[in-house]
């Protein structure tokens, strides 16, 4: 029996992995963006699990919205990435620090 708790734990784990990935990764921005998707996925897990538990559809509806928005977000993110690459010829996270202090 997969309990709600397991789902939540999984979700929390995924969330943590996403965050850790962002923090640890120093190379590629794409990976960072993937990690942000992980974060959203963990949220989706949560919603679905809760929705199932509560027998309430609105959580699942929310998930669809999140997916849509995530797609839009990814589109924008990739667009920015392309522009960045054009200007900078690099998508390394560790070189992304001309603006600081």
């Amino acid at each position: 029996m997969v309990t709600l708790q397991s789902y939540l734990t999984l979700s929390a784990l995924v969330f943590s992995i996403g965050i850790t990935g962002i923090i640890i990764n120093r190379k590629n921005i794409i990976i960072v963006m993937m990690c942000t998707e992980l974060l959203l996925i963990s949220v989706n897990f949560n919603f679905i699990a809760f929705s199932h538990q509560l027998q309430d559809l609105s959580g699942q509806v929310f998930v669809f919205f999140i997916l849509t928005v995530a797609a839009a977000e990814a589109a924008i993110g990739l667009a920015i990435l392309v522009a960045l690459y054009r200007n900078k010829k690099s998508i390394s996270v560790s070189e992304l620090n001309t603006l600081r202090n």
Partner: protein
Amino acid sequence: MTFNIIGFILPEITIAFGICTVILVNSLSKKASIGLIHSLILFFLVLALFFSFVSLEIPDRIIFNGHYMIDSFGTNLKIIALIAAILVHLTSVKSKQNIKNEIFLVQLFATLGVLILCSAHNLLTVYLGLETLTLSMYGIVASNRSSVDATESAMKFFILGAIASAIFLYGISILYGVTGTLSLDSLKELVIISSLEIRIAVAFIACGIIFKFGAFPFHSWVPDSYQGSNTTAAIYISSVPKLGAFALISRLFLDALNAMSEFWSVLILSAGLFSIIIGNLIALMQINLRRMLAYSAIGHIGFVLLSFSIVSDTGVSASLTYLLMYLIMTIAAFGLIESIASEDHQHIELSDLKGLSKSHPSVAFMLLFCMFSMVGIPPFIGFYAKWMVLSELIYNDWIWLAIIGVIMSVIAAYFYLRVVWFMYFENADQPIENKGLKNTQSITTLLLSLMLFLIGLYPNPIIDYTRIIISSFLLID
């Protein structure tokens, strides 16, 4: 009935319609003059403003199955947001070609997001409004596609924003799991005792909100994106979205989670306090004007949050007052910077201001108003904002917070004064060429500067207005 519903959301509809029109015009007719597009945008904004005023008459109601709330609070915030958007638009319009038109289009999107946030009454709508706003903001920041700085800052903003909304969503999901509802109304009824789970959820949500405000420790995007993007973008992201954030925090925390105010006020308060300290301190060391204003914005937002964390009608209305006055100041300041920035010289640094009082006497004079207002010197409005917040803090026995606040104001005075010093006390090595202001721009900035001063002489209207907004909001629910 259907028509009625549309009637209630006419402002939003107008903006959405405007967006479509502008896209169409822009893509269909290649020769469509920039002027036409600008006037179209302006037209729709004004129209939306007009509809908002009309909908002030509508009695409060909840539509779209509880997803949308039409009340005077939301409508008033919309009015403010639209006025701010119009002002932003007017101050940032340039005759120069190479500012992309899209930025104004995207601004319309963002404005739409703010309007939705003002009325959102369900966590889903809240999320949608928030994302509409956030995604457009990425676009705004990235609008200067050929600039390294702009794209870099957009990238950072994007990633941080994505994380923030994920955190926010995570909070919402927990909240949903615990209460089983997404409706703010039901939340309000259900959340009476604050369980640990709800608290955790609230902590997550608070992070998302604080990020939107751009307060410490979720402020990192603010300086980079202000500096990296162009001034046109900075004007917008420094002003209108803050109103969205205010709407968000009011709807979510003040209204729906009022029962837990004791808990979240601490979070907001600490974020506000540290924002004041960190923002003002780091601003001391800045030489780039936009970056400096970004840090100063963090400081100002700190005051807004500080005051908001006093969960009373007077505290929140002081907070809103501060926000309004901040909007006026920041739009004016950025507008003035915009007016002296040329295309190839977007990074205005302090040393560029040398001799400004000679080459652009009127701009310098208005900027002087702005700076003193931001310092918080009467009779400019910045003073009344600070004073109201301080009054609230002292009234609620937070005297030590008030003392920290005023000390930080004094420290902040230094970097504001430095602007005046460079403008007035130093002579230019090579004077900035006086391009003269575009009419709309000069009129708007003049208007704003006059507001800085005239409202300062008679601050009653704003003080009363915010008070009415907030008390009606708190009274109804």
